[in-house]
């Protein structure tokens, strides 16, 4: 915090709702976090926790209607993105911040060649001739481990892992300062996932890109992240560096997550899952959103939601137990 210049991203109280016919879906409820240059944040949460929504919010890509950014602040390089004009956004997206979407199978345009799609983003943000852009695109392709001869092939001629690598190449083509990766490996097999993760690690180092890694896999986080934020029902319930979260778990939800995981190293007869289900974001319970499932529930939890408490330097927990 003291060295403000090194902070790339600064998010405060970001709140995003989807206003649908069936009610207001409170997908993201006031999340705040910072990201330094070169740092990787893991954003972990179960389905529907609001991870993708938060990421789209950072890109200003929330589908509107029905999505609405209700309040908050997103500052990238000192600029408030929520106030940016359309024109500024075109320069921002893909150049300063780029995003890898959840499903590599559908993220590529099926009728354009892979080369076209990489070159497109280069031509948009860098003053280059067509030839130069294609040259750079082929370099990018090589970089992610695909022979550049395959530039003129179409996405359907690629396997899932290769497509994901193309998506990564597109995201990195303009050397963005921040890369948001939305579950980039969920759709892939473990062996391929390992390849892709290795590649991302390598590239992140090479370009010194900051990264937000969205996942629901606590294993993936340890592979690539410096910091972790655990999301539950649109809120960050616990955040800190890897050690804080993995070794010094505080929030009952985070504990529950770890208890639910079958482990390779130790054999347990039964897992100890969290009971119940994630609440419907259109109909969140009063008080702490986790209280209906919480083993440590206190009467107060039903009425009041805790504030974010910093229990150690950089380790935040949002739970009344630690307030």
């Amino acid at each position: 915090m003291n060295d403000k210049s090194n902070t790339l991203l600064f998010v405060r109280d970001l709140t995003i709702y989807y206003i649908t016919d069936d009610g207001v879906v409170k997908a993201v409820n006031g999340i705040s976090f910072d990201l330094e240059r070169g740092e990787t944040l893991g954003l972990v949460g179960e389905t529907g926790a609001g991870k993708t929504t938060a990421a789209l919010g950072l890109m200003r890509l929330i589908p509107d209607p029905p999505g609405k950014i209700i309040s908050g602040e997103i500052v990238v390089n000192g600029k408030n993105i929520l106030q940016a004009t359309k024109h500024e956004l075109h320069g921002y997206r893909g150049k300063e911040v780029s995003m890898i979407f959840q499903d590599p199978m559908t993220a590529l345009n099926p009728i354009l060649t892979v080369g076209d799609q990489i070159a497109e983003v280069i031509r948009l943000h860098e003053k280059m001739s067509k030839e130069q852009a294609y040259k750079k695109a082929s370099d990018m392709l090589e970089l992610v481990g695909i022979p550049s001869e395959r530039m003129s092939e179409y996405p359907h001629q690629f396997s899932g892992g290769m497509k994901q690598r193309v998506v990564i190449a597109i995201a990195l083509a303009c050397n963005p300062q921040l890369l948001i990766a939305d579950e980039p490996t969920t759709a892939l097999d473990v062996t391929i996932q390992a390849q892709v993760l290795a590649l991302m690690r390598e590239l992140r180092q090479k370009y010194d890109t900051s990264m937000i890694m969205i996942t629901h896999d606590l294993g993936v986080v340890t592979e690539i992240c410096d910091k972790v934020a655990i999301m539950y029902a649109g809120q960050i319930v616990e955040s800190g560096n890897l050690e804080d979260i993995y070794e010094n778990t505080k929030h009952p939800y985070t504990k529950g997550l770890f208890g639910s995981l079958p482990s390779l190293s130790s054999k347990v007869n039964r897992l100890s899952p969290i009971h119940g289900l994630m609440p419907d974001p259109a109909n969140l319970p009063d008080g702490c959103a986790f209280h209906p499932r919480c083993p440590n529930k206190m009467p107060e939890c039903e009425t009041r939601c805790s504030v974010n408490t910093e229990i150690e330097s950089g380790h935040f927990v949002r739970c009344l137990l630690y307030e």
């Binding site: 179960e46 389905t47 396997s159 892992g161 290769m162 097999d189 473990v190 062996t191 391929i192 996932q193 390992a194 390849q195 993760l197 290795a198 629901h216 896999d217 606590l218 294993g219 993936v220 986080v221 340890t222 592979e223 890897l242 050690e243 993995y246 070794e247 529950g256 997550l257 770890f258 208890g259 639910s260 995981l261 079958p262 482990s263 390779l264 190293s265 054999k267 347990v268 039964r270 897992l271 100890s272 899952p273 969290i274 009971h275 289900l277 994630m278």
Partner: protein, 319 residues
């Protein structure tokens, strides 16, 4: 302990536009009653196909399936098979008819097999089943789309249980679920197994899950078994290079262990008209000439531990 199911040189080929797809190619294994056989492997390696062929949802191309020592490979009347062998599907979203209510879905097998004398009995049975899998009775008239994934998977289990089968193929029943829900379901399945002595064939691509639930594990690669042994043995004495790679690729949710990684090159090759030789050879870091010429067979290298790899069993085959 008796063998409930035995499979011999089972093959399943699909005709496709591009050629013959060897989805399952000469698989041998047996499952003891009351045990769980875990099947792991990458996407497309033939796990689901194997599961379906075993319970005769698909007809096999070749080989034999023995259930309770009876050859059921070509039995025409599948009614008894259906009652003895059931399946739980991966996708809790598409495995239910969206136009049927929960009670109708669970009651359907009972109706088809005329296992209830009247409506009242049917209703009672359905309530019982719902109770068993932990579904609240008030959901009886709901529709699947109104429920979350975890509950839906419980419906799937209840439907499979309805006919009181001995053997259940679980085709990635938890892959689509969040970890917290996944744990609930896994516990339920284990409870049921203990209570009713079910035999599971548990298909998954998640090694930690398979380790947690299985007694024996079978690793598949492109339609073939590459390694098969008792669960702990597999993790302690991994023999096949593919299994090794698989294990090392799993990101573990701990920050203590720094494990040595074994990255595979390239991706899974096409199962269409495969050439002779080890199917893993193209990606294998240790492959030699022989690997690309001779197909390794599954050999027992230590008691109960089977491997199909030339490097592990060098003396068994003469080129």
């Amino acid at each position: 302990m008796s063998k409930l199911l035995e499979v011999r040189v089972l093959k399943k080929y699909f005709e496709t536009k591009r050629g013959l797809l060897h989805a399952v190619d000469g698989v041998n294994f047996a499952i003891d009653e009351g045990k769980t056989l875990g099947v792991v492997g990458e996407s497309g390696c033939g796990k689901s196909t194997l599961g379906r062929v075993v319970i005769r949802l698909l007809d096999s191309t070749d080989g034999a399936i023995l259930f309770q020592s009876k050859d059921i490979t070509n039995v025409k009347d599948k009614r008894t098979i259906r009652r003895e062998m059931q399946i739980i599907f991966q996708d809790p979203f598409s495995s239910f008819n969206p136009r049927m209510s929960i009670s109708e879905i669970i009651g359907e097998p009972l109706t088809i097999h005329k296992m209830c004398k009247n409506k009242v009995e049917l209703k009672d049975r359905v309530s019982e089943l719902m109770d068993t899998v932990g579904l609240a009775l008030r959901l009886a008239n709901s529709y699947p789309h109104e429920l979350d994934g975890g509950r839906r998977q419980r419906i799937g289990i209840a439907r499979a249980l309805a006919l009181d089968p001995k053997f259940i193929v679980c085709d990635e029943p938890v892959s689509a679920l969040d970890v917290s829900i996944q744990a609930q379901i896994l516990n339920l399945m284990q409870d049921l197994q203990e209570q009713r002595n079910f035999t599971y064939m548990f298909i998954t691509h998640d090694l930690s899950v398979v380790k947690h639930i299985s007694d024996e594990i079978m690793v598949m690669y492109l339609g073939m078994i590459v390694e098969k042994c008792e669960s702990n043995e597999l993790f302690e004495h991994t023999l096949h290079p593919y299994t090794k790679a698989l294990l090392s690729a799993i990101p573990e949710p701990t920050i203590k262990k720094t494990k040595q990684r074994l990255l595979l090159q390239g991706e899974i090759t096409s199962p269409i008209n495969p050439k002779p030789g080890c199917r893993f050879a193209a990606r294998c870091n240790y492959a030699c000439d022989k690997c690309s010429q001779v197909t390794p067979t599954l050999e027992e290298v230590s008691p109960g531990h089977f491997v199909a790899c030339h490097l592990v069993q060098p003396c068994t085959i003469i080129a």
